[in-house]
């Protein structure tokens, strides 16, 4: 409230006058000697209460007069307009309610989730609407969805929409939701605009996807209602899930490793993790999570059959978001590994052939099934090979390769394929480094020849595999009893490598003399392994050692492209491309975890789908009028990593974002600002003043009126004497 003549408010000091006068009057009451005091006393008893009330009312009326008079004379008014605070109080307002229903909103301590609290707050906003206001509702998951887009004053519709919209508990994108809100506000004919954002205010919610705040001009008054608690929120989440063949237990035994991280804990925390296979819990174990890094838990499970297994790891926590407590991973076990071996040193004598030992090692049967299906091709025939049919390409002692083919191999790796490069007599260090620069983990400096295999002192001169990274699936088996046999293999010659700072390169094994033995480089979704000695008998006697077969098989399995792993799972809110070109599909139907069906047209051989629900998705392909479920296309959608951390964004950061957005109003001229308008309130005060004066007069003048009337009555009575 503001005043045109604020100086006149000084008159408010006079509000004490009636009180003072009242008190003085009581002291200055006229003293009169009167004989008939007993009759006065009797009458006064009956009238005492009424007298007190009347005196109180008179006092209040007089105080009100002295209060209202200066207030009215100061001419108060309220601002109504863009810079005022009460445009919404006066004008019909278009309200856009933006509700954050991201995964972090599934947080709860013991009662309602934050989303339930947010829905309740939204209902309160709807209930607070006046009959001339209109509202729309947007849920700010990623991508955001408009639930009620046409501004309506029907509270029933709005409340049902707020109540019925299923929680996405996926990623959040408040800025994009605000863009939608802006479009609704700009379409609105109502001049007063208000945007209410109900969120947990996490950093992820305010991710800066709208780089230019002026894009948000037109939202009107933006009110952010934070529903997260004041104190730091805790949360634990399964942030990654991977699997590999178990070193023990034979074929079909797999290790499923979950990575679990906690936020908001001062020290170590503990959760209970459960492995679910096809929705059935198959194992539970407690996991301790350090405060400064994620913890891991590995389940070993035997998959008896081939096929698709829908695996998930779920955790139980006393406090936190429930949506990120489970991570999903489809495991396809019905696919044998197919390897294309490029023979760089073809020999007529079989055992001298570069791939003699490898072919046999990979071709060994695991039960009734071959471990790896292999095809062998000469370097010059590599051009015609269809790499998409293979999971692994092995370049064994291949001296040269056309640049175009090397590029094919890079693309093959980027798409998830595995490449194994092995050394040999054909390797020229300089040429190799040049030709395979995009594939090699490190450039080759030279060939280190320690001794001839036939050297009598070979046992002394030759080196051996010494430092093995047993955390990788390749060497894990060699950490078990009997695994030391790999160290019996002698290496007579190997490639020396140049140092590099590439962080995607790591050394998985080294020789006893410190030279690198096996290096890994990640390219895209795939891997490249460089075996620095030969894969045959030329530079090492490993092929005749017992460790050769499991080592080669595990290297190929490690490289092999899988149907899904931690790196290629779908993320909520992000587009998934389902490649069905080879199937001649007309359309694709995706069944989300809730069983809802999404029919997608196939465009250019693929179907795009944006998952909204975390969990396993089934894919049906419609071709030639028949719908067929394709397990190979099944995928799991998981939360984006940004939703795990419940840390609340600093208010200042959010305010800067909002201020930048709102402060840009008018910059594009799209917003109709309501000019400042003074709503005068002093006429109301004057009216009240008149009412009070009238009431005071009634209370006071009425006395004289009765006095006169009684004066006549007294005279009549006296005459009657």
């Amino acid at each position: 409230m503001r005043f045109l003549n604020p100086i006149l408010l000084a008159g408010l000091a006079a509000v004490f006058l009636p009180i003072v006068i009242h008190l003085i009057n009581r002291r200055r009451a006229v003293r009169v000697a009167f004989p008939a005091l007993e009759f006065l006393r009797r009458s006064q008893k009956e009238q005492a209460r009424r007298l007190k009330i009347k005196q109180l009312l008179l006092l209040l009326a007089r105080i009100s007069i002295f209060l209202l008079l200066p207030l009215a004379m100061a001419q108060p008014y309220m601002l109504c307009g863009a810079q005022g605070q009460s445009a919404g109080d006066r004008l019909p307002t278009s309200i856009v309610i933006v509700i954050d229903d991201s995964a972090s909103m599934s947080w709860s301590r013991s009662g309602d989730t934050l989303l339930e609290v947010a829905r309740a707050r939204a209902q309160r906003v709807v209930r607070g609407m006046r009959s001339w206001d209109r509202a729309a509702v947007i849920f700010a998951h990623d991508p955001p969805s408009i639930v009620v887009g046409d501004l309506t004053g029907d509270r029933g519709i709005l409340q049902r929409a707020i109540r019925s919209e299923p929680a996405s508990f996926g990623g959040s994108d408040l800025p994009s939701a605000l863009l939608l809100a802006r479009e609704i506000q700009l379409d609105s004919e109502l001049s007063a605009k208000r945007t209410v954002v109900i969120t947990d205010d996490t950093a992820a919610a305010w991710s800066d996807r709208v780089t230019n705040p002026s894009q948000l001009a037109g939202l009107g008054d933006v009110e952010v209602i934070r529903v997260s608690p004041e104190r730091a929120m805790r949360n634990s989440a399964v942030i990654a899930l991977d699997y590999s063949e178990a070193a023990e237990g034979g074929a079909g035994n797999y290790e499923v490793t979950a990575t679990i991280e906690s936020w908001g804990y001062d020290g170590e925390s503990e959760v209970e993790a459960t492995l679910l296979v096809d929705d059935r819990p198959v194992g539970t174990t407690p996991v301790e999570i350090p405060a400064d890094r994620p913890g891991t838990v590995t389940f070993t499970h035997r998959f008896d059959d081939n096929g698709l297994f829908r695996v998930a790891v779920s955790i139980e926590e006393p406090e936190g978001a429930s949506a990120d407590n489970t991570r999903y991973l489809p495991i396809h076990l019905d696919r044998s590994i197919r390897a294309l071996m490029v023979n760089g040193d073809v020999r007529s004598v079989q055992y001298n052939d570069e791939l003699f030992y490898l072919e046999r090692a990979l071709g060994a049967r695991v039960g009734e099934v071959r471990a790896v299906d292999t095809d062998i091709v000469a370097p010059e025939r590599f051009v015609s090979a269809d790499l998409s049919a293979y999971d692994v390409v092995i370049l064994a002692n291949v001296a040269v390769m056309p640049v175009s083919q090397v590029q094919r191999l890079v693309e093959f790796a980027e798409e998830g394929g595995g490449i194994l490069l092995s050394g040999g007599d054909n390797v020229d260090a300089e040429r190799w480094s040049s030709i395979y620069a995009d594939l090699l983990p490190k450039p080759v400096r030279s060939v280190s020849v320690l001794c001839d295999p036939n050297d009598p002192d070979a046992n002394i001169k030759a080196t051996r595999l010494a430092a093995l990274d047993v955390t990788t699936p390749i060497f894990r088996v060699f950490s078990l009893p009997g695994g030391e046999s790999i160290q019996s293999a002698r290496v007579f010659t190997y490639l020396l490598l140049e140092p590099t700072t590439d962080e995607s390169v790591r050394t998985l094994a080294s020789y006893a003399d410190g030279g690198p033995a096996l290096l890994e480089r990640r390219i895209g979704r795939g891997r490249v392994l460089l075996w620095t000695t030969s894969i045959d008998f030329d530079w090492t006697d490993l092929p005749i050692r017992t460790a050769y077969l499991p080592l080669m098989q595990r290297m190929v399995q490690y490289l092999a492209r899988r149907g899904a792993d931690a790196s290629d799972q779908a993320v909520l809110g992000e587009r998934v491309s389902i490649d069905v070109e080879s199937m001649g599909a007309e359309r694709v139907e995706v069944h989300d975890p809730d069983g809802e069906r999404h029919v997608i047209d196939v465009v250019a051989g693929s179907a795009g789908f944006v998952p909204q629900r975390a969990g396993h998705h089934r894919v049906f392909v419609s071709a030639s009028g028949r719908d067929t479920e394709v397990d190979a296309l099944s995928f799991a959608a998981n939360l984006p990593p940004s939703e795990h951390d419940p840390a609340v964004v600093a208010g200042a950061d959010r305010d800067r974002f909002i201020d930048a957005a709102v402060g840009a109003r008018g910059a594009d001229g799209a917003v109709v600002d309501v000019p400042e308008n003074r709503a005068r309130t002093w006429p109301v005060l004057l009216f009240l003043l008149l009412v009070v004066i009238y009431a005071e007069s009634l209370l006071a003048v009425r006395r004289r009126f009765w006095q006169r009337l009684r004066g006549r009555r007294g005279a009549e009575s006296a005459d009657a004497l």
């Binding site: 009169v32 007993e38 009759f39 009684r710």
Partner: protein, 296 residues
């Protein structure tokens, strides 16, 4: 008779002496309007009465004694020797007056002095007693010519202070009066007890004529005060802070009910009751009394 010929009570105060005030009033009253209804020693025989100690022996009818062997005393029509006991309430409340009106004490004094004067003129014997909480000055009835001077002196000495106790005054009179006396009480009758009425009824049953003048100030009748007022009692009561406007009607109803109750009690006991305000002419009140008695 027009009241304009009477003395304005507001001017009574200017007449310093009660004697003069009474004389002024009496001049305005037609004298001899009443006959003495009492029987006494007159030449006109009225009836016999059995002798009782105290009766004069010379009034014994010896003939009757000879006939019936009992003593009878002759009674005669007597117009001169009525004994009048005039009682004036001289308590604190009687000192009250409002604006120009005389005090109730002055009004009552003048009224009784006037009445005494008239009685003396008729040959009656008026006596006077003032009282407050206790009986005060007492002047026995007498028909001497100087009696009026003595009565006025007693009235002038009336204190106008202290509490009121009408029953004690009436009790004292009851001990002293003879039968066939006239008892006149002037008071504001603010004592709400019934004891006063009880004693008055006893007096009446004993054959005395009882007349009560109920004197009130108009301010008492109408409560004309305005604004917050502290009322102080005149007979030692605790003070009272009230807004007169708010309690006026209730007060008037209370006072009227009190007066009506007294009047009703007097009427039922054949006690003459006159209510008057101090701003009303005394002559009018006296005439009302005298005319009433003439009718009897």
């Amino acid at each position: 008779m027009s009241t304009t010929t009477y003395i304005d009570p507001s001017r009574l105060e200017a007449i310093g002496s009660t004697h003069l005030r009474a004389r002024s009033v009496v001049e305005g009253v037609i004298t001899g309007l009443h006959r003495n209804p009492h029987k006494g020693s007159s030449v006109e025989f009225a009836e016999y009465k059995e002798y009782a100690p105290g009766d004069e022996l010379r009034h014994i009818d010896w003939r009757a004694y000879a006939r019936v062997d009992r003593y009878y005393v002759k009674q005669f029509e007597d117009e001169t020797n009525v004994r009048g006991y005039l009682l004036l309430d001289a308590s604190g409340s009687m000192s009250f007056s409002f604006e120009d009106a005389p005090t109730k004490l002055m009004y009552g004094s003048t009224l009784l002095a006037s009445l005494a004067w008239i009685m003396l003129k008729q040959g009656d014997a008026p006596g006077i007693m003032t009282f407050d909480e206790r009986p005060g000055n007492w002047l026995p009835p007498s028909s001497r010519r100087t009696q009026i001077e003595d009565i006025c002196r007693v009235l002038d000495e009336a204190p106008g202070s202290g509490r009121t106790s009408i029953p004690s005054a009436l009790s004292r009179i009851a001990e002293r009066v003879y039968a066939r006396s006239l008892v006149v009480l002037v008071s504001d009758l603010l004592d709400t007890s019934d004891e006063m009425l009880t004693i008055a009824k006893v007096l009446r049953r004993r054959g005395m004529e009882v007349v009560i003048f109920h004197v009130l100030d108009r301010a008492e009748w109408e409560l004309p005060y305005e604004g917050l007022t502290i009322f102080e009692g005149m007979e030692g009561e605790e003070e009272l802070l009230v807004e007169p406007d708010d309690i006026r009607s209730a007060y008037q109803a209370e006072l009227r009910a009190h007066c009506d109750r007294i009047q009703a009690a007097c009427t039922s006991s054949d006690i003459e009751y006159f209510r008057t305000l101090t701003d009303q002419p005394i002559e009018g009140v006296l005439l009302k009394l005298l005319r009433g008695r003439l009718k009897k």
